[in-house]
């Protein structure tokens, strides 16, 4: 019923997974070393983790760092593209709503 990782034992690429642990909005979440933050969230069955300006849910759309739909806060830093950032053991991830125009995130584009 949801996105998921191909089990390592059935993966023709011959993966040898090692576990990593994140905290997402205060909850512990297990992932596999090498996954992006988006990969960990998707593999845990989550499709959405951000709010658009209207409050509508968003998750991954482009998967390669172009659409900025998947932004999260990692270890206190806002506006990190979850599809581009490799998850590291112990990362603290919080989901975020889009900052109000003129306020919030320090990112310049």
């Amino acid at each position: 019923m949801s996105p998921r990782l191909i089990p390592a034992e059935r993966d023709p690429a011959g993966r040898r997974d090692s576990v990593l642990r994140l905290t997402v909005d205060g909850e512990p979440l297990e992932g596999v070393a090498g996954q992006t933050v988006a990969g960990v969230l998707l593999a845990a069955g989550r499709r959405a983790w951000r709010e658009a300006p209207s409050g509508a849910p968003r998750g991954v759309f482009c998967g390669i760092g172009v659409c900025f739909d998947c932004l999260v806060t990692v270890n206190g830093e806002r506006d990190v593209r979850a599809c581009r950032r490799r998850a590291l053991d112990g990362d603290v991830v919080t989901t975020q709503a889009r900052a109000l125009p003129g306020g919030g995130g320090e990112g310049a584009r």
Binding site: R4, A13, A33, G34, A48, R58, I64, G107, A108
Partner: protein, 496 residues
């Protein structure tokens, strides 16, 4: 002293450019925002997966692996992974040097990346393209992915985006995406090509000799076709997803038959239950770096521009070469040929050498292939018929179709820039990367009445001008470059 060539992007085009520049005797700095080389086509698994058989996931793995090892291990090559080029700084007028390259090295969007500045003798730009997706009601629902996202997640993270998936849009790219989904264990309900058989056949048939050099590609496509047949996945032409529905995530899609111009044939709608939808209506080149360098663009339509290059892959800016999907969408082999030529000439290789001749030949074959691809899989002019007044056009700012039409219809304010400011379309975090081509096309049509016609007397809207090509934090911007501007790679001359 040999030339120093900086190559931005390590996909098929950039990697080939680096290889050719090394062969021509240059010192090379190869940069890519990703951790591994390969770009979109040879997307590698993360090293931490410790995969024992990575070649199982790739076409042409052996050639790629050889090239990658040769280039990255070459004593005259500096490989800079996780290095995002965020700005190109043009030289002063009269200064013959190419723009200086500003890069941030470190984890994506991290706040403490190192700033680096390169001052190369020549620059090869090969940043590739991303999916183009036309809007339709519900395309902003979670569970709707670009086809490229599904491909990247399956190939690069071994992740299936859903259990029951529809793949829709236009182009041969839909086939490898469906194949990757099947491989990842998804059920693919159907693959929908929006163009009808007549358009696709007319595009691909005729002048068959032009296809002969691409038998590799044809074989790849045939293999995908066989795979779909084996899994009993229907491949339907002249049909598209015109709506996605669901409560907080996609639960079903509405598909409909299309006429040749992509207008919906009434009474042909069908709903299909899905938990993921993958869509692609072609590709958009990543033009911010070429635009920052001052490269002239070749405008194909209101929605489509590419970097203009001459027969030597040289852009309008001296010593700046362009290769791969930024010059036209033609697939990995063509990108590789362009890269070979660009890298060789950027390094000072002779234009008359057999190397140049061979690469030009293959590049021209690639261009012929691209022309057929474009003819066989055009975007029909009737797609705005899918839109409703409340359909989101700009995903970031949630600008609706009605808001955009109102602004465009205003006789005083219909110009692209005014519409942008009035509706905020294109002003969100993605800076119009996703909605840019759509907004440009809709505005051009409303202004001129005919599709694709530029507005008389107005500069064409270029959605690609972004002074900052990749996000940089203010703290990083304030920090001094590390080390101060350098010409890297202070190796002694050595024999290749």
């Amino acid at each position: 002293m040999s030339r120093h060539v900086a190559v931005v992007g390590a996909g098929p085009a950039g990697l080939a450019a680096a290889a050719a520049a090394l062969r021509a005797g240059a010192r090379v700095t190869l940069l890519d925002a990703a951790e591994e080389p390969g770009g979109q086509y040879h997307r590698m698994l993360p090293a931490a997966f410790a995969a024992t058989r990575p070649e199982r996931l790739h076409h042409g793995w052996r050639g790629f692996d050889r090239m990658r090892r040769h280039v990255l291990g070459h004593p005259r090559c500096d490989w800079w992974p996780e290095s995002a080029v965020w700005s190109l700084e043009r030289s002063a007028p009269g200064d013959p040097r190419p723009p200086r390259v500003h890069a941030l090295r470190g984890p994506a969007d991290g706040g403490r990346r190192e700033r680096h500045v390169l001052a190369p003798d020549a620059l090869v730009l090969a940043p590739g393209a991303h999916d183009r997706v036309l809007p339709f009601p519900g395309w902003e629902l979670p569970g709707v992915f670009t086809a490229g996202a599904a491909q990247a997640l399956a190939k690069g993270e071994r992740l299936a985006v859903g259990d029951d998936v529809v793949v829709a849009g236009t182009g041969p790219f839909l086939l490898p995406v469906a194949a990757a989904l099947l491989d990842a264990g998804s059920r693919v309900a159907e693959v929908l090509e929006a163009n009808p058989p007549a358009t696709v056949l007319r595009g691909w048939a005729g002048r068959p000799w032009e296809l002969a050099p691409h038998h590799g590609k044809a074989g790849e496509l045939a293999a995908y076709g066989a795979l779909l047949a084996r899994h009993r996945v229907p491949y339907r032409l002249g049909r598209a997803v015109v709506e996605a529905r669901g409560d907080g995530r996609v639960e079903e899609v509405v598909t409909a038959r299309l006429r040749a111009d992509w207008s919906v044939v009434p009474g042909t709608a069908r709903t299909v239950a899905v938990d993921a939808l993958c869509v692609s209506h072609g590709f958009t080149p990543q033009l911010e770096l070429p635009v920052a360098a001052g490269c002239a663009l070749r405008r194909v339509s209101a929605a489509e521009s590419y970097v203009q290059v001459d027969g030597d892959q040289l852009t309008s800016v001296p010593r700046v070469y362009a290769a791969g999907e930024i010059t036209g969408i033609a697939g990995a082999p063509a990108a590789r040929a362009e890269g070979l030529l660009a890298g060789w000439l950027a390094a000072g290789g002779s234009p008359a050498a057999p190397e140049s001749h061979r690469a030009r030949l293959r590049r021209d074959q690639g261009r012929a292939f691209a022309a057929r691809l474009a003819a066989a899989h055009p975007v029909g002019a009737g797609w705005p018929g899918w839109l409703r007044p409340d359909t989101v056009v700009c995903r970031c700012e949630e600008t609706s179709y009605a808001t955009l039409c109102d602004a465009a219809g205003d006789p005083a304010g219909g110009a692209a820039r005014t519409v942008k400011l009035g509706t905020r379309a294109g002003l969100g975090p993605c800076q119009a990367r996703v909605c840019g081509p759509t907004v440009a096309e809709l505005l051009a049509r409303r202004a001129a009445g005919t599709p694709g016609h530029p507005v008389e007397g107005l500069a064409p809207a270029t959605p690609h001008h972004r002074p900052i090509a990749q996000p940089i934090r203010l703290g990083e911007l304030a920090a001094p470059p590390h080390p101060p501007t350098q010409t890297p790679n202070q190796h002694e001359e050595e024999n290749p």
